[in-house]
């Protein structure tokens, strides 16, 4: 036991390894939120009139909405008037090669441990690197262009692909969907736009690294991915953020659309600053992610590894509208110290023969609270719908909590829904078995946890899997015994 205490102390003392600030000149919108802020952002982005109207509509809807209170996470009320809603890098140069990139940003890459050069060569990943709301560089755009794939910042898409944006933006997450989605719709600064044309299989993993940089800048990303008939894309989103004292709000919106026979695979590794060991600081991660399987035989798969943020509150969802469509959700959520997580998914079965699968693994340590909240709806029209959900929770230490809130609503007699959940700690017998074979407690626990999460990790693309395992060990290193 003394050993365990020591180990726990060590982890708790672990500082956030990715805490640093890059000094780049910033240009801010005036503090606080008003119609002028919305107009300012829209003007800064050179947006057409219809986009401004769209934002204002969202802003006006937001004014009438109330902050939701039902979630199982607690935080002091957010003062939306003390947040900067826009921070862009001042000098925007045309960049042709990586050498032209600001050395500070290059240094940031190095600290992240993912040298972009190497990654470019190794994985063939096109990186749309977002540094505080503004696209800095887009690699591989040319080679994607050949295939007709559009991968650009959403601001560029609004200017260059107005028809697609008009058709799909807000079609899955409407402006007035929820409080934070409305806020995002009004003030989103940038994000990614992906369009995969009919029959094209995207030849590489598309990846965006988000990074919250300026102090007091809430980050409002907007991502829109459209996969036309018979296309396929795998999209990666990974995050790290610098250490900071004041809580920062991140309210992103992600919309995915798949038409007939198309497939989108969306993977997230999230490791934002979780706050210090007293629970001070840290990111509020309030995200609306939703995909719609609009066409027949289409598929959307969400995979997430959530290790960071003071509060994680998100439910990547699938609306299974097309017949025979498939929705998947794989999640590992780790909370330590005073972190809180309320995450899960929604699977809305509308089309016939739709199938969905939910695998959620929660690990809580320290004084953290970890909740799974999921909804499975089988509508009257969804003949032969099938859902399987499994949510397991692992508790490490006696001061944390694990919660499960599944909602199953079935309105069709041919629907079949199976849900199972377990909560336990790491079995003494497992540990003993490993000890007997010469493994230390820590090695044994890390092995067992990795095995516990394997079902989710194996869904991740190769490079991400390595990073996810690294993050897991950083988040929990030694906190177990």
């Amino acid at each position: 036991m003394a050993d365990n205490d020591k180990i726990i102390d060590e982890v708790v003392a672990n500082d956030y390894k990715y805490g640093f600030t890059t000094n780049i000149e910033q240009e801010f919108a005036a503090i606080g939120l008003s119609e002028d802020t919305v107009r300012f952002i829209s003007a800064k982005k050179n947006e057409p009139e219809w986009m401004l109207e769209w934002r204002l509509k969202a802003y006006r809807a937001w004014l009438k909405m109330e902050q939701p209170k039902w979630q199982n996470v607690h935080f002091p009320e957010i003062d939306f008037q003390s947040i900067y809603y826009y921070a862009a890098q001042k000098k925007k140069k045309v960049i042709n090669s990586l050498d032209d990139v600001d050395p500070e940003i290059r240094a940031t890459y190095d600290k992240l441990g993912i040298p972009i050069q190497e990654q470019k060569m190794l994985a063939g990943v096109a990186v749309d690197y977002v540094m505080d709301s503004e696209s800095v560089i887009t690699t591989f755009r040319e080679s994607l262009k050949e295939k007709g794939i559009i991968f650009c910042s959403i601001s560029d898409a609004i200017r260059e692909q107005p028809e697609l944006v008009k058709q799909y933006l807000g079609s899955i997450v409407p402006q007035r969907d929820n409080y934070y989605a409305a806020l995002n719709s009004a003030v989103f600064s940038d994000g990614s736009f992906v369009f995969i044309p009919k029959g094209v299989r995207c030849p590489m993993e598309l990846s965006t690294y988000f990074r919250i940089n300026a102090e007091n800048t809430g980050q409002f990303e907007r991502t829109l991915i459209i996969a036309e008939e018979g296309s396929y894309v795998s999209y990666l989103e990974g995050c790290t953020a610098p250490m900071r004292d004041e809580n920062q709000l991140h309210a992103a919106v992600v919309e995915l659309i798949t038409l007939d026979n198309a497939e989108i695979k969306y993977s997230t590794v999230q490791n934002w600053y979780p706050g210090d060991k007293e629970g001070k600081g840290g990111i509020y991660n309030f995200v609306t992610k939703r995909g719609m399987c609009k066409g027949k035989n289409s598929k959307i798969s969400w995979t997430q590894v959530e290790t960071g943020s003071a509060i994680t509150w998100k439910y990547p969802s699938c609306i299974l509208k097309g017949d025979n469509s498939i929705g998947e959700f794989y999640s590992v959520a780790v909370t330590n110290n005073y972190q809180q997580a309320d995450t899960g998914t929604k699977m809305i079965h509308i089309g016939k023969n739709t199938r969905s699968r939910i695998v959620s693994k929660g690990i809580s340590a320290g004084k953290s609270q970890n909740s799974y909240r999921g909804q499975v709806q089988v509508h009257k029209t969804a003949d032969n719908a099938y859902n399987f959900s499994q949510c397991d929770s692992l508790l490490i230490g006696d001061k944390c909590g694990a919660h499960t809130f599944p909602y199953l609503e079935i309105k069709n007699m041919t629907g079949k829904v199976e849900h199972e959940a377990t909560t336990s700690k790491i079995g003494e017998d497992l540990l003993f078995y490993c000890n007997q074979r010469g493994l230390t407690n820590e090695e044994a626990v890390s092995m067992i946890i990795n095995g516990y999460c394997k079902e989710v990790f194996k869904q991740l693309p190769m490079e991400f899997m390595v990073e996810a395992q690294k993050l897991l060990s950083i988040s929990l290193e030694g906190s177990v015994g």
């Binding site: 919660h403 909602y407 609503e409 069709n412 041919t414 629907g415």
Partner: protein
């Protein structure tokens, strides 16, 4: 008589001032809470506000025993011991109260004066009237019910039936009934709470039971809701189990066809709080929904003390346009290490217009625990159906046989032999199976 006068009159009948104070604060709480809407998380799938009559009357309804009621009671199978309430009022002349040393059974109304110390210690202490709308209403306005006190080491072998009949003499009546059961150390008793609508008209009632299970004591309760056509019934059962105590509750609901205009609705809140080590709770339920019935089961097992175990098994069969709701919660408090809690909820949908909303829920604050829940919704196994049909059994019969097997598992958990037998027969009648 005005509403407040009526309340004051009711309160005046109770001589114990502490109880009056408690009821007054419950009334204040209810004034704040009101009747819940479907925006309330616990009533999300059961919109009680639209189902209840708008002007409910809380005055005790007429409880005259007329010929029809007499005939109805005569037609029932004979029970060894029965305590009969008509529209919430105790009728000693119809009841057969056991005369056993160490067992006290009387009406709650009498107990307010004759057993005032016990009532003061136990009445209203388990229900959370500051948050639970109907428990608050009941605590403030309860008129009558059963008071049962089993003294230390007393073992009662025969089950006791507590029967509530309703006759709908006043369509607006919202009858408040309440049982208070205290089982002391190492004592044991079996109870059946039986609710019946003896008329064809819609009745509304709100029942609360508070049950205390002492050290090493044993309490078996079966809630029978078999003849409840045209009823809106809200049931709350709050129990507290001490060290080595055992509590088992089975809720059996057969919502019968409705002939009136309203929609029948049964809501069951069952809570078991395990406050002493090595306590055990067994909560089971079986519900059959037909036509436009709405059956809602809310279960909570609260593990407060370490080394306790609990088991939940709920099964539902939904036909017609019936709606089933299941919400099963397991709380494990931070001191409750070595808890073992299990929950299983299964529902069969036999009609395309039926629906089920299931919300199994775990909230765990201790690490050395084993908790799990499983929830399934589906249809009968195709292979099993085929097997039976290949042996010359009609499809209808095959469905009935498999449904019987599905439902019977819950009845197996009823400990009392006569009640189990009664339920078995009832189930066979319901499904028209003969074997």
């Amino acid at each position: 008589m005005s509403f407040t006068e009526n309340i004051e009159k009711q309160f005046a009948e109770v001589s114990n001032s502490n109880v009056v104070d408690l009821r007054r604060s419950a009334f204040t709480a209810f004034e704040k809470l009101g009747i819940p809407t479907s925006r309330h998380e616990e009533w999300k799938y059961t919109n009680i506000k639209t189902k209840l009559n708008e002007d409910i009357s809380l005055a005790p309804a007429d409880s005259q025993v007329n010929a029809a009621v007499k005939n109805y009671i005569a037609s029932l199978p004979p029970y060894a011991f029965r305590i009969i309430f008509l529209n919430g009022v105790f009728h000693p002349e119809l009841s057969i109260v056991p005369d056993i040393n160490g067992l006290t059974i009387c009406s709650l109304k009498d107990a307010f004066t004759s057993h005032s110390t016990l009532v003061e210690t136990y009445f209203g202490k388990l229900v959370n009237y500051n948050e639970e709308h109907f428990a608050a209403l009941n605590t403030a306005f309860v008129n009558d019910g059963a008071f049962i006190h089993v003294q230390k080491n007393v073992v009662v072998k025969e089950p006791i039936y507590i029967q509530y009949f309703f006759t709908a003499s006043d369509v607006n009546a919202f009858t408040q009934t309440r049982n208070l059961v205290i089982v002391e150390e190492s004592a044991s008793i079996e109870l059946a709470e039986d609710f019946r609508n003896a008329s064809n008209i819609m009745v509304q009632y709100n029942h609360v039971s508070e049950m205390y299970i002492g050290k090493n004591a044993n309490l078996d309760v079966v809630k029978l809701q078999l003849e409840l056509n045209n009823a809106i019934g809200i049931h709350t059962l709050e129990s507290q189990v001490e060290r080595d105590g055992k509590f088992s509750a089975a809720t059996i609901t057969f919502a019968s066809p409705n002939t009136g205009t309203g929609k029948p609705l049964i809501r069951n809140n069952v809570t078991a709080r395990l406050v002493g080590q090595n306590a055990h709770a067994d909560l089971n339920g079986l519900y059959f929904g037909k036509e436009n019935a709405h059956i809602d089961n809310h279960i909570l097992v609260d593990h407060v003390a370490p080394n306790c175990t609990s088991n939940q098994l709920y099964k539902g069969v939904l036909n017609g346009e019936s709606v089933g709701v299941f919400n099963g919660k397991i709380f494990v408090k931070s001191d409750a290490q070595k808890t073992n809690a299990f929950q299983s909820s299964k529902a069969l949908l036999l009609s395309n217009d039926a629906s089920i909303n299931s919300k199994p829920q775990l909230e765990i604050f201790a690490d050395d625990v084993k908790c799990s829940h499983g929830a399934t919704v589906g249809q009968l196994d195709e292979n099993a159906l085929f097997y039976l049909r290949a042996r010359g059994i009609t499809k209808f019969e095959a469905v009935q046989i498999l449904t019987y097997a599905f439902a019977h598992e819950v009845i197996d958990h009823v400990h009392s032999k006569p009640i189990r037998q009664f339920l078995c027969d009832k189930l066979k009648d319901e499904l028209k199976v003969n074997f």
